[in-house]
């Protein structure tokens, strides 16, 4: 078990290190000079040069990489070019929006998908299954940003049930804050739930063909009990895999949704930062998201071991 975990950890760290080089290299070749952008239309060439020097943009590549990577390790992400505040502060402000949003969406998608998947698998081929899976097919096919637009017009504009967007901040109270995350969470969660329900169903059906299911049935357990006690846990591994992938997607892939609902989250921060060439923010946030994805994958690997004793005892 420890060997398995140590190996996963080592791989995760190596991936992280490699990813940091990729991110740094990629941002090196993005066209557009941040110094020029900060100074605006009328700045002289000397002013731009001075600022470049102040920002350390004229140091050699390797030196800048090492300084940046070293900073990351000590949680010093540098200062935003456009906001001129420490990046870590920006990130802290945004994470309290993006993380709850991703978690709510993930919870929502799980709560919807697992029962639907169980229902469908246990009724394979019958009307209920066909309807549920038809709905899931549709859910997968609808682009989530389009779905978000439809939701806004239905629930925010027409029914005025929830805010159309924006985030009042947690200081405005938990309920108003949650309310403003509800619609984006639904827009994010439903397509993901559709995918997860399909995976749950097919994983269950796969497991239901296994010999040990027959053994359990021969024991006298009714079908339902077999489904819950024997099939579900064995079907968890593909479901966990997808959950891991979805969390990564939800945490980072919310750029469009955050823009539609104008939520001040990480996705929008990075999108704005890219267009404004606030490279230090882009680098840091992308690295943070990558680290989150890697951490979640590690967590998923860990949970495999919890679910599957074969992995636990593998030395």
């Amino acid at each position: 078990m420890t060997a398995y975990l140590l190996k996963r950890l080592a791989i995760a760290l190596a991936t992280l290190a490699l990813a940091s080089m990729v991110v740094f290299a990629v941002l090196e070749i993005i066209p557009g000079d941040p110094a020029r952008l900060m100074l605006g239309l009328n700045a002289s060439a000397e002013q731009v040069e001075l600022l470049r020097n102040q920002m350390g943009l004229d140091a050699p590549l390797a030196a800048r990489y090492l300084r940046w990577a070293g900073g990351l390790l000590s949680l010093d992400f540098g200062r935003s070019y456009t906001y001129s505040v420490p990046v870590i502060d920006l990130v802290r402000e945004r994470v309290v929006v993006s993380l709850p949003l991703a978690l709510i969406a993930l919870a929502l998608s799980t709560v919807i998908a697992i029962p639907v998947g169980l229902f469908s698998a246990s009724r394979r081929g019958r009307a209920g299954d066909t309807i549920a899976m038809g709905a899931a097919q549709l859910g997968v096919a609808v682009p989530n940003f389009w779905f978000a637009l439809m939701l806004i017009y239905l629930f925010a504009v027409w029914l005025r049930l929830v805010p159309a967007g924006g985030f009042p901040g947690w200081s405005a109270g938990v309920w108003p804050a949650l309310k403003s995350l509800l619609l984006p969470a639904v827009a994010l969660a439903l397509p993901q739930a559709a995918i997860l329900a399909r995976v749950t169903r097919s994983a269950l059906i796969e497991v239901l063909h296994e010999d040990y299911i027959r053994t359990a049935r021969a024991k006298g357990l009714p079908y339902r009990a077999v489904l819950w006690r024997h099939a579900l846990r064995n079907a968890m591994i593909p479901v966990l895999t997808i959950l891991g992938l979805q969390f990564a997607f939800l945490l980072a892939g919310t750029i469009i949704i955050e823009n539609i609902f104008y939520l001040p989250g990480l996705g929008r921060l990075v999108f704005q930062a890219i267009t404004q060439r606030d490279l230090i923010v882009v680098e840091s946030v992308v690295m943070l998201l990558v680290a989150a994805v890697i951490a979640v994958n590690l967590l998923v690997d860990l949970s495999y071991a919890v679910v599957d004793p074969r992995l636990r005892s593998r030395q």
Partner: protein, 493 residues
């Protein structure tokens, strides 16, 4: 449908119970499209800074009024010497900065000297170029001597870049702005909103709002829902012109179409062949159908222009008849220039809708006369870098929103690459003239030259559509400068 809506709405009301108040409102959420990069108007060009802070948090010696007029602000009165070179300002007394310190003439001297210093980061140093010396006569009196008379000096002092800051807080204004205005800064939730609250120590007429939140709504698509759902009560610069017509019919909202100082033009790199040929540029002007462009890119709300001057300006000369939409004429001119079969070029478009939408229409119109344009969308960063700085472009669309900025065509190395000594001479003369009538004549001539040379494709004056709650009053209808002056705003309930 209807029944459902009733039921669901009832449920919503139950949820929302306890949040509504019946007393007249004193809070306001204003939607703005762009987030300011920081909060110091004396250290950045971004209009977004002024949109939040101008007249609300920071004040200058003078200020610009709702229709572009110069009004006294921190300076109660002033006198001008006969030679037009010495301005003596009498300042208000009892004025306090938001941090509690007193305001006096030393602060003004500090602010102006700081702005015009060698190492100044002020984005509009040109405003202060004429100043020779700034002297503090007494705490309430200030004397400014100019190098030469300048007709626009009082106007210049009303810009956001010329507001007065305190020496103690000047360096931290980017994060925590401290001014003398009726509102003080409370909080900036980055990427989301900036909140101002009423200042208790304000020297002037008290304002009726207690709290004003500038909500950042970068996505034009989100503006209508935000307005309809009541999250945002005012969009002084409504980003979604196409939806204006639809909001117009709604009694809950007031829609005001005003003018701006934004000359929207199809900029041409006039040193780059084939655009160095006058016939080519004229052909482009003939090929443009301004009405279609205005309809398609600005919901039919803009006013066509024929040169670089706002139709609202006193100096405006109507030159729109010079190049009527005429495809045959355009083709003929191209033929004269040796491009019978047309040519290919690129059109770089910055992000605003007027550019992106207008670009598509212009590309289609120029295709009709044989010019094939490749559309290249660019972010502002790239636009500044490639187009504005390196002049690596053929055509681009941009709105020049600075007021009275016809002089840009005389600037050396400006991105138009336009060079006409006759025009430069007029501008030079203009700077030395304070006589109003003479100035008008010169400005008229300048406009005529630009139109004759078809330096760029003059399109239309950018409209300003303000949309706000019908119960709200006191917001500016026009935009002589980009600002949201909240001093007179109140709810009428």
């Amino acid at each position: 449908m209807k029944l459902w809506k009733t039921i669901l709405t009832a449920a919503a009301l139950a949820l929302a119970a306890g949040t509504s108040a019946f007393a007249a409102r004193t809070d306001l959420v204003i939607g703005v499209t762009l987030e300011p990069p920081h909060l110091d108007p004396t250290a950045g060009a971004a209009a977004a800074i002024d949109e939040v802070l101008y007249a609300n948090v920071f004040e200058g010696l003078t200020r610009i009024g709702p229709n572009g007029e110069v009004l006294p602000d921190l300076a109660e009165t002033w006198t001008i010497s006969d030679d037009g070179k010495v301005y003596t300002f009498k300042l208000h007394t009892g004025v306090k900065f938001h941090d509690g310190t007193d305001f006096n003439a030393d602060d003004v001297k500090f602010s102006l000297d700081r702005a015009r210093a060698e190492d100044s980061v002020n984005a509009q140093k040109g405003l202060f170029a004429a100043i020779d010396t700034v002297e503090v006569v007494d705490p309430a009196t200030l004397k400014i001597t100019l190098k030469n008379p300048q007709g626009s000096f009082l106007y210049n002092m009303g810009w956001g870049d010329a507001v007065i800051v305190a020496p103690e807080t000047a360096d931290t204004n980017k994060e925590k702005p401290i001014g003398t205005g009726p509102f003080k800064f409370q909080n900036w939730a980055k990427g989301s909103s900036i909140t101002l609250v009423k200042s208790d120590t304000y020297w002037g007429a008290p304002v009726s709002l207690d709290k004003a939140e500038f909500r950042i709504v970068p996505d034009a698509a989100a503006a209508v829902p935000a307005l309809l759902s009541g999250d945002v009560q005012a969009f002084p610069f409504f980003p979604d012109l196409d939806s204006v017509a639809q909001v117009q019919g709604d009694p809950r909202f007031k829609v005001v179409i005003g003018s701006t100082e934004g000359e929207t033009i199809l900029s041409i790199n006039s040193k780059k062949p084939p655009f160095d040929k006058l016939q080519v540029r004229q052909a482009i002007s003939f090929a443009l159908d301004r009405k279609a462009i205005i309809d398609g890119a600005s919901a039919g709300l803009g006013v066509p222009i024929g040169s670089h001057m706002s139709p609202a300006s006193k100096a405006y000369v109507d030159l729109t008849g010079l190049y009527p939409h005429n495809v045959d004429k355009a083709r003929e001119l191209l033929k004269e220039a040796g491009f019978e079969n047309g040519f290919k070029a690129t059109l770089k478009l910055p992000p605003p809708p007027y550019a992106r939408l207008g670009g598509e229409i212009i590309a289609s119109q120029l295709r009709d006369v044989g010019i094939e344009l490749e559309i290249v969308p660019v972010e502002w960063a790239q636009w500044l870098d490639q187009v504005f700085t390196k002049k690596d472009y053929d055509l681009t669309i941009v709105s020049h929103t600075e007021p009275n900025d016809i002089d840009i065509y005389s600037r050396k190395d400006y991105y138009f690459n336009y060079d006409n000594p006759a025009f430069d001479k007029i501008i030079a003369g203009l700077n030395l003239t304070s006589d109003e009538a003479k100035r008008m004549t010169l400005l008229g001539e300048a406009q005529k030259i630009l139109a004759d040379d078809a330096v760029v494709g003059f399109l239309y004056e950018l409209p300003k559509a303000g949309v706000w709650d019908a119960k709200l009053e006191g917001l500016w209808e026009n935009a002589p400068i980009q600002a949201n002056d909240l001093t007179k705003v109140k709810w009428t309930d």
